[in-house]
């Protein structure tokens, strides 16, 4: 193992190179672009035997990956934000066709107002398209999760596409030390080509693909797809075990810090959970027992892991770096659903933070804890870092316009 100093985009590209992707199709968009530039360099330098499809849109990027996957090639793409939205139609096509495509996403919000900065709006609005969704909290995790994504997506028990999401700029552009595996080790982790257990487009074995299904049979196929995604959690668990035995790094669907005796547990995705750990340590020193549960595998949603992580805490604070307009943050309903039947059934409150790239500092997290520490008091969704409009209406108690 070597220690490298990589940014998130480089880590994703290196992992894809080591996975020996055969076809890469992508379109530039900030802050993802470097990922594809790195891969282009690897191909140009002869370090990667792949074809790059330099497409004219993200819609075509994912479509080209679908074509490559239909003949059994290992494929990779990267995108985010508007680009991911343009792909939206193809996301469902890819999962319906059960193509094990892997996509790296440097999270960025959606326009308008225009912003190139991070939040999870782009991937969360696409959470229900039948893809595995993994969220990294560090550059090391970006690298590890891209490898795990290939391994899980291509497993014959799964055969579904996977996205690895990491916060734009915060992780995509910031460099951190990364423990990288040697190429030989990756060969043991991943077969040279995806296992071809499904029919492929092949003139020697003609089949028809992407066809109409009448209503009587539709639920059967939907159920199978849903189950395959649910069961991918177990397959991923095996992959995480194997990864641990080779690297010593333990990955889990929900990463916990100080949850064992916590009265308040913070739940959320991505790099802000590192900040949450920092804040939790400080709050503990002041006597508030705060734990942190970082949801790393978001689709399939790891109900059991989350219930275990929360344990006997009386209050759960869900941090959402996104907003489901007119309802709540988008992670919040998953957490409330999972905890509704939990033995302790804690109060669950929602905090909309850091949208459009607004910095989430330890102070932001402390503010959430301050607002939520007494549990439910008639209000469940808070906007601690939003200022009220000019009329002076505050969105959140204590926040001045």
């Amino acid at each position: 193992m070597t220690t490298e100093f990589w940014n998130g985009n480089r880590a994703a590209a290196e992992a894809a190179r080591q996975a020996r992707v055969q076809v890469v199709a992508a379109y530039p968009i900030t802050p993802q672009t470097h990922t594809v530039e790195y891969l282009s360099e690897y191909v140009a330098a002869g370090r990667l035997d792949a074809r790059l499809v330099r497409v004219e849109s993200e819609h075509s990027a994912l479509s080209a990956c679908c074509g490559a996957s239909a003949v059994g090639a290992r494929t990779f793409t990267a995108s985010c934000s508007q680009g991911l939205q343009l792909m939206s139609e193809v996301l469902y096509f890819a999962s319906g066709m059960r193509f094990p495509i892997v996509m790296a996403i440097a999270n960025r919000t959606l326009s308008v107002p225009v912003s190139i900065w991070a939040d999870h709006q782009d991937t969360l609005v696409n959470r229900d398209c039948g893809w595995i969704q993994l969220y990294a909290a560090s550059v090391q995790e970006v690298y590890d999760l891209v490898l795990m994504a290939f391994r899980t997506a291509e497993d014959p028990r799964v055969h579904l596409p996977a996205m690895v999401a990491y916060d734009g700029f915060i992780l995509s552009h910031a460099s951190e030390p990364v423990e990288a595996l040697p190429d030989e080790e990756i060969r043991a982790l991943l077969p040279p080509e995806p296992p071809h257990l499904r029919p492929l487009l092949d003139p020697n074995d003609p089949k028809q693909f992407g066809e109409v299904l009448f209503p009587d049979f539709y639920p059967d196929i939907e159920y199978k797809k849903h189950r395959a995604l649910e069961e991918s959690l177990e397959v991923m668990g095996e992959a995480f075990e194997d990864f641990h035995s080779r690297t010593g790094r333990r990955l889990s669907p929900v990463e916990t810090h100080g949850c064992e005796d916590a009265e308040i547990v913070l739940v959320g995705l991505g790099s802000m959970m590192q900040t949450a750990r920092h804040a939790a340590t400080r709050l503990r020193a002041e006597g508030t027992k705060v734990g942190v549960a970082q949801v790393r595998v978001y689709r399939p949603f790891p109900d059991r892991d989350l219930v275990e992580a929360v344990g006997g805490a009386r209050t759960v604070l869900v941090l959402d770096r996104d907003i489901g307009y007119g309802s709540a943050g988008m992670v919040y309903p998953d957490v409330t659903r999972a905890l509704y039947h939990a033995p302790s059934r804690p109060d669950v409150l929602n905090f909309i933070v850091g949208t459009g790239g607004k910095d989430i500092t330890p102070k932001t997290i402390e503010r959430c804890v301050e607002l939520g520490r007494h549990g439910y008091r008639g209000m469940s969704v808070f906007w601690p870092d939003a200022r009220g409009p000019a009329e002076g209406i505050a969105y959140t108690p204590g926040v001045k316009a």
Partner: protein
Amino acid sequence: MTVRLKDLPTEELLHKGNLACAGCPEMVGFRHVLRALGPETIVINATGCLAVITQMGVPKVPHFHVLFENAPAVVSGIDDALRVQGRREGVNLLVVAGDGGTADIGLGSLSGAIERGQDFVYVCFDNEMYMNTGGQRSGTTPYLARTTTTPVGAESRGEPRTEMRRKDMVEIAVAHGIPYAASASIGYPLDLVERVEKAARVRGPTYIHVHSPCPTGWGMDPAKTVEAAQLAVKTGCVVLYEVEDGKRRITRGVARRAPVEEYLRLQSRFRHVVADPVALAEVQRGVDERYAALLARMA
């Protein structure tokens, strides 16, 4: 080399029976295109009538129904993947789409695939409207044609966009510097087969625009599909030509063009035109202009 009837490949690559309307031109065209390409062919089918009427395993070759606008991108991925896998040789990649999937929603994707120089044969079956959804106008609908979205009424005479501004897909492909492009018609199957065979021999992108009169959409007797297709050529509404490395050549010339009325009166979508001498003269003038402009470009 001119294809004669006895040269036609005899292997049928479509199973008997399909879901098409009576007199469907697309099944006729698809059948000949596949015969020309042979069994070592993978078909990528954009959403449209053809994708629907070939359901339940009609083609004997691999058939991949993709989305409406992404078939050229999908074929790009297949082309590149087969190269990396060392399996590209000897396989024809055929994209089939309608005029909506080609000239409208899929134009960007097609443009990208041609510009990148991907290796495929693209066949557009042009019935001049969206027939899979019941007959809306498209970028190739002719001037004054009645469709469900360009009805004829007190304030409307049908499709308002003039003949000269109809999307000309062969010329759009040629503007990309495509190595081979051609127009063809389901009314002239030997010519169609010859164009497809030629396209298959070219390395790189090729485009064939196949005129396909649709009895259901155009309000025609289903027995007249082929007659309408031939009249379109004889009246100069459709010009059969090919473009090889930028050089245009008429592949099936017309010595003396028949009046467009002969073609229009087979179709109820032009009933209001045939009944109105002024409108009829306008349509004739549009066709003449376009015909002259195209002929002026020939080598």
